[in-house]
Structure formats: C-alpha cells, structure tokens
C-alpha cells in the first residue's frame, strides 16, 4: 500500500527576465527559503533534496552540486533529474515516489532555470539528434508556428481566439506577484495589432525566457498532518513519453498523431474515476508554451471535444471567474524558467486548493486540480492534486 503524499510547503522566486543580482545557487536559495518559511520548517528536517534543471541552458555541468551549500543539500541525500521540458514534472514525480515508498518522510523538490546565463534557442536546437536534425532545425519557435498554422486550419480557430487566451493569461499574470511578464494588455485588438515573430505567432504569443526557481516540500501522511492544517494531497501522477512526432518535434502539424497528453489523461482519469473532467476536476494549471497550444491542449486533455478548444475561451469558461479556470496564474506564457515551470504549475494548483492564491485565486472553490508538464518531444507529466483524499 503506497504511502500518501502531501505538499506542505510552497516557495517561488519572483520570476524575471534577468537576475544579474544573484548567481544560480542564490536564486534557488530564495525559493527554498520561501518554501521552508511557508511550511514553518527548517532545512534540518528535510531528509532529501531533488533537483530539476536543464544543464545545457546555463552551461553548468552538475548544477545541483554547485548549490549544495546555498540550498542546504550538503550532508543530505538527493539527486538531479533532467528530462527536458518535463524535468520539473519528473522531479515532482520522483519526489512523490520517494516519499510514497517510505524511503523519505520529508523531501524538498526544486526546479530552477536561470536563462539569462545562456542561449536557450541554441540549447533547444542542440536537442535534435546531432548527426541528424540540426540541418533544418529552427528551435522551438519554428515548431510551434507550424503547429499553430495547422490548428487554425483544422479547427477553425481564429487569431482572435489566440488573442483572447493571451489576454486571459496577462490578466492572471498581473494579479500574480511572482509572474514574469506583466504587460497590462487591455484588449484583443491591442494584441491583434502587435507584430509577428514567426508567422503566425506574434511576439506576444510565445512564452518568455525567465529566470526563476520553485520549491515544494513533500511529506508523508503522518508528518503532513503535523506540519500544516492545509496539506495538498498528491493523489496521482502519470508520465507518458514518446519519440518525436513524425512531422514536427514539439507539435504535430498534421493533426493526426497521438498526443501523449491524450494518452496520459486517459490513464490518469480512468485510475481516478474521472469521467467528466470539467466537472470532476475544478481547475487546471497546464503547460502551454503558446496560446495556440493552449487551445489545442484543451482538446488533448479532454476538457472539450476535438476542434472545440477555441470555443472554451470564446465562452469565457477557462477564465479565472469561469466554470473551469485554466492558468489563473498567467501560465507559462507569462513565466517560463524551463526547469522550474512544471513545478510552478504544481505550486500554483496547490495554492488554489489551499485558497492562498491571493488576487489570482479562482472564483469557484477548488478542491481538485490538475497540473501538467510538457516537453519535447511530445512528453507529458500529469499531477492530480486534491484537498482531501
């Protein structure tokens, strides 16, 4: 019988474009101290520290070793995982398994990325098989552009819908003290007038490169109940990976291939008795690298039928005040320190369940939340959180 696991502490840095005032270790230290303060624990009580980071982005080999003193992991067990964009999701899953197994009672799970230290696009382009793909690589941006074109054509979504998603994200970000891009966008028109980056994606449509860290403290049931009155239970996790799409890397322009989100949700929902996601789950923090992808993901995460993703945003269903809020925190399009982003999704979903999300708290009561992680190529990690099991 696996042990039950709860999140008892949440901490983030204030995510920014550049953090020249700190080095990588110091930045992570901020998030760790915030999480410990939130849980009212000291680092002494933490039994293991698990890291997630994509080391090629900062050009630092073994980054978890470098921050042993600042983070307080020296003298403690731990390790680092790196699975690309889903690294943060993988570290949450690993932390979950380590506590569920009984090997650890209190584990600290950290995701971080300090993207002002390197060239993200070059590092992403280096993810193609060295002897194969570099020839026609365009980084993540080109891939998403192709996917957006295909979504427009197959689903009938218009640029207006993408702009509505962007507006929703910015409204959330402006109310989230930790978010990176707070643009103060006022209307769909304002967005439609802005410039293209890689057609049809506008500069506004794409996520930023952020510097930030996010830390979570996982505890086993016995400890969790002693530490906090509001533990957020990790009900289940699901990991699905696959080789790159045939016709793309990060997105499938043909609209025919199976998304791992679809498979992962099928498995997770079946195991947890979820038959009507928008009713059985109260909100979602999803990993959407662009607003176009958010609409596409609504479909693959079974929030709506195929080709209807844009209708959810048109009807305001996924707004903060809506019936099924998605990314009230501003999402990835407002904040994206890659190694930390999936951990931030879990953190934000947990804050919603605790009712601690301040000004970006969803209007309806959140008892169950889904946090997703996405990575190249076509990787998904899902975390299902509940107020009570």
């Amino acid at each position: 019988m696996p042990n039950r696991v709860a999140i008892v502490g949440i901490g983030q840095t204030y995510h920014k474009r550049g953090r020249p005032d700190v080095n990588q270790a110091e930045m992570v230290g901020e998030a760790v101290r915030a999480a410990l303060a939130d849980a009212q624990l000291s680092i002494k009580e933490i039994e293991g520290v698990f890291f997630s980071n994509m080391e090629t982005f900062e050009g630092i080999y073994l980054p978890d070793h470098g921050m042993a003193a600042e983070v307080g992991s020296f003298g403690k067990p731990g390790l680092k995982v790196c699975t690309g964009g889903t690294s943060g999701g993988s570290v949450v899953v690993e932390g979950f398994y380590f506590v569920a197994s009984g090997l650890y009672d209190l584990a600290l799970v950290i995701g971080f990325e300090k993207q002002d230290c390197g060239d993200t696009t070059a590092a992403i382009t280096a993810a193609t098989t060295p002897v194969w793909g570099k020839g026609a690589a365009t980084g993540a941006i080109g891939e998403f552009a192709k996917q957006a074109l295909s979504y427009m054509e197959t689903s009938g979504a218009k640029e207006e819908h993408a702009a509505m998603v962007r507006l929703k994200a910015d409204r959330g970000a402006c109310r989230n003290p930790y978010a990176h891009l707070k643009l103060g966008l006022k209307s769909v028109d304002e967005i439609l007038q802005s410039g293209y980056l890689v057609w049809p994606l506008r500069l506004l449509d794409f996520c930023p490169q952020s510097c930030g860290a996010c830390a979570l403290i996982f505890a086993s049931e016995g400890s969790a109940k002693k530490i906090t009155k509001k533990p957020v239970w990790v009900a289940d996790v699901e990991v699905v990976h696959q080789e790159p799409f045939r016709a793309g890397i990060f997105g499938d322009p043909t609209g025919q291939e199976t998304y791992t989100q679809h498979v992962a949700c099928e498995r997770l929902y079946r195991r947890n008795g979820i038959t009507n996601p928008r009713k059985d789950i109260d909100m979602a923090e999803i990993y959407e690298p662009s607003n176009w992808e958010e609409m596409n993901l609504y479909e693959h995460l079974h929030f709506c039928e195929k080709n209807e993703g844009w209708k959810l945003i048109e009807k305001g269903i996924t707004e903060m005040e809506g019936e099924f809020p998605v990314n009230p925190s501003g999402g990835v399009i407002a904040t994206n320190p890659i190694g930390a982003t999936p951990v931030i999704r879990v953190a934000e979903a947990a804050l919603q369940i605790r009712g601690d999300a301040g000004e970006h708290q969803a209007t309806r009561d959140i008892k169950t939340a889904l946090a997703t992680a996405l990575g190249g190529p076509n990787w998904t990690v899902l975390t299902l959180l509940k107020r009570s099991l």
Binding site: G75, Y97, V239
Partner: protein
C-alpha cells in the same frame, strides 16, 4: 517497507576506448537486449524506464532522447537521472517500493570518447570563482590525494597497490577494458599527470553501457531463480567549494553508508559484507572511500591495502572485477559495480567469483572529489 525490491537481470557491454561503430541508441540497446533475453520479457512489459546519461557528455540537450525507443518509452513512463548510474537504480528502487510501478528497466550509457573530458568537467566548477582556474576533476582529485596523503601519511606505493590489484583482477573479467600485469614500480614510473596522480593511477577513456531490470519480490521470484535483493541504499551530497571541507574526509560517503547499513542491518562491514565493488577513477580514492565505508578507521586506508584483507581470497575482497581503473565510463561506473555485485551474488562471476558471497556492497560516485556518493547493499537470501 512492504515487499523487497529484486534485481532480476543485469547486462553490461565490454568496455572499450572508442565505440565509434555505434551511436548511443545502439550502445544502450546492446545491454537492454541482454536483460530482456535473460528474463524473457519484451519492451512492452516494461512499466517504467529510468535512464542515466549526462547532456554534457552526449553533447545533446535532453540526452535521454537518444535512448527513448530502445527503452520502450513509446507512450511509456520514462525518467532520466543526471548523476552516476547507480543513482538511476536508486530511483528505480523507489518507484517499485512506492507501489506505483512494477517492472522497471534501468539503463546507463556514456561514450567518453565523444567529448573532451577536461572541458566538460571544467563546466562543473563555479563559473565565477573556480572555472577560470582551468580546473577539472583530475586536478582537483590531485589536490585531494595530496591532502589525504599528507594528513595520514598514505604513501604513493599504497595508492599504486590499488592500481596493481585492480588491473590484475580485471584479467578475470571478460567485460574489462584494459586488464594489465603491472607492478608498483610500473605505476610509480608512469607519466605524472597532476602530482601525485600518475597515468597508471587513473583510468583510460571508456565507452559503455549497463542495464538492469528491477521488480518487487513476488514477481522477481517468477522472473528468475536467482533474484538479488536491494537490502539498503542511500546517497548523499557533500559541500561544493573545495575549501569548505577537509578533502581528506569523505563525510558524504560516511553518511550514505550509515543509512544504507542501517537499512540492511549491517553493523560490522568487514564481517558482514562478503564482497565490495567500489568506484574510483583515481587510485587514492579507493583507500579513502574504504575508510568512509567503515572498512577501517580514519587514515588507515593505506594499512588496509597493505594487510591483504582486500585482495582476492582476503577477508573482504574489493573490486574482483577490477573496478573502474581498468576502464569504465564515469556515468556508468556505479551501475557497473552493482552489476558485478549481482553477478557475485548469483554465483555467475566466473573466474572472479568470491565463493559463497551472500552480501555485497556496491558504490557509485559523481562530481568533484566525490561530492555525491551512493551506497547500495545487496543480498541473495
């Protein structure tokens, strides 16, 4: 803990200085095929895969993309650890113990021949303070060796004995890369790399992979007649900056060993452990790590190797496989140690078999001067 975790099959490649005939995927598949054939499982039977590789060494961001399909991760559960291979095994163990995953495939691969060792290792150092000094793991190991030898009077001859014994043991290991008949004089006469570390005190560049399959006790007994149980395991970090610790200590190893021993019920390592496979790219490290593992007191590593306790036929043979010195890629070395320990406990270690081995210790190390240590205790009863 409910059911124990059992290792049901292990596979290794013959370690080689340059496997230019294969890419990472084919290299990993060689060992995956070995473990699948041994158990009669197919890739579709694998519930979860834990891979271990370093983006910096593979020269590719998200280096697990290199081995995705060969671990059967199509629409499957997959994770990648970025430390020494033995840690991937630790993660696999937690997955099985958590009750959430059943059959776990663990694979580590690395082709050291692909990259420039010094440049890659230099990237592990703090960019502002230590990198500009041009340090790599060899030069810092040399600092540690010097400190260790100075504090406790360990001699170069004692370090050389580690190399002599390991290279000789490797002659009985069909997977070993460079078995050799050398003497202490040969080691002390070999080219000085970074004092006091000489060429024969260290290992050659190596390519290779290692894989194993783990599952819970009940299933393990069905998949093999000789399951090997993980009785205890733990890892531990040390501080990073060289000046923050006395390099002649290995506190992280002491802590990791303590936790692993307590899980396995080991109170007297020399008595209760029948064979030990210890990682160490530099000869002095084995002496220091043996102290950390409690095989002898602090500063007594040199006396321990002089005593003959650790040679084949001794009270606690160390590295019957030859260990890392004859050639093992650094990201795979720890997992190879576990594979060798498993072979010992299954009685399948051929000419290097330690008779009647029932409890084995395997050890892996990552980072500068052994900043990250991992210890596993395995048993066959």
């Amino acid at each position: 803990m409910a059911e124990r975790v059992g290792i049901v099959a292990v596979g290794q490649t013959k370690y080689h200085p340059n496997r230019s005939d294969v890419n990472e995927e084919e290299l990993a598949y060689e060992v995956i095929k070995q473990v699948l054939e041994a158990t009669g499982l197919t890739l579709s039977d694998i519930d979860s895969a834990v891979t271990c590789s370093q983006d910096f060494w593979d020269g590719r961001t998200i280096s697990n993309m290199n081995v995705q399909h060969v671990v059967g991760a199509h629409m499957g559960h997959e994770d990648k650890v970025a430390e020494d291979g033995i840690n991937a095994l630790y993660v696999g163990m937690s997955q099985v113990l958590s009750g959430h995953q059943d059959i776990v495939l663990v694979v580590a691969h690395m082709k050291e021949s692909q990259g420039e060792k010094s440049l890659i290792e230099n990237a592990a150092f703090d960019p502002a303070l230590m990198r500009p000094l041009g340090l790599d793991f060899l030069s810092t190991a040399a600092l540690q060796a010097k400190r260790y030898m100075y504090k406790y009077g360990i001699t170069a001859e004692q370090c050389a004995k580690v190399a002599v014994r390991n290279r000789s043991n490797a002659k009985n290991n069909p997977f070993a890369q460079e078995p050799m008949d050398i003497t202490v004089e040969d080691v002390l006469g070999s080219k000085m790399l970074s004092s006091p570390i000489r060429h024969l005190d260290t290992k050659p560049v190596s390519d290779g992979a290692c894989a194993m399959i783990l599952t819970r006790e009940e299933k393990a007994r069905k998949l093999t007649s000789k399951p090997v149980w993980i009785l205890g395991a733990s890892n531990c970090y040390e501080t990073h900056y060289l000046g923050d610790r006395d390099l002649a200590n290995c506190d992280a190893l002491v802590k990791a060993a303590k936790k692993a021993y307590s899980m396995a019920g080991i109170k007297n390592p020399l008595k209760q452990i029948d064979v030990a496979e210890i990682s160490g790219e530099y000869s002095y490290q084995e002496l220091l790590w043996m102290e950390g593992l409690g095989f002898c007191g602090r500063g007594e590593g040199g006396m321990l190797i002089d005593s003959g306790v650790t040679k084949m036929g001794g009270k606690l043979p160390v590295n019957p496989s030859g260990g890392v010195l004859p050639g093992n890629p650094n990201g795979v070395a720890g997992m190879t140690r576990v594979a060798e320990a498993v072979l010992q406990l299954r009685g399948e270690a051929g000419d290097r078999q330690v008779k009647g081995a029932k409890v084995a210790l395997a050890h892996g190390v990552t980072g500068i001067c052994g900043q990250h240590q991992c210890v596993m205790i395995l048993g066959n009863t």
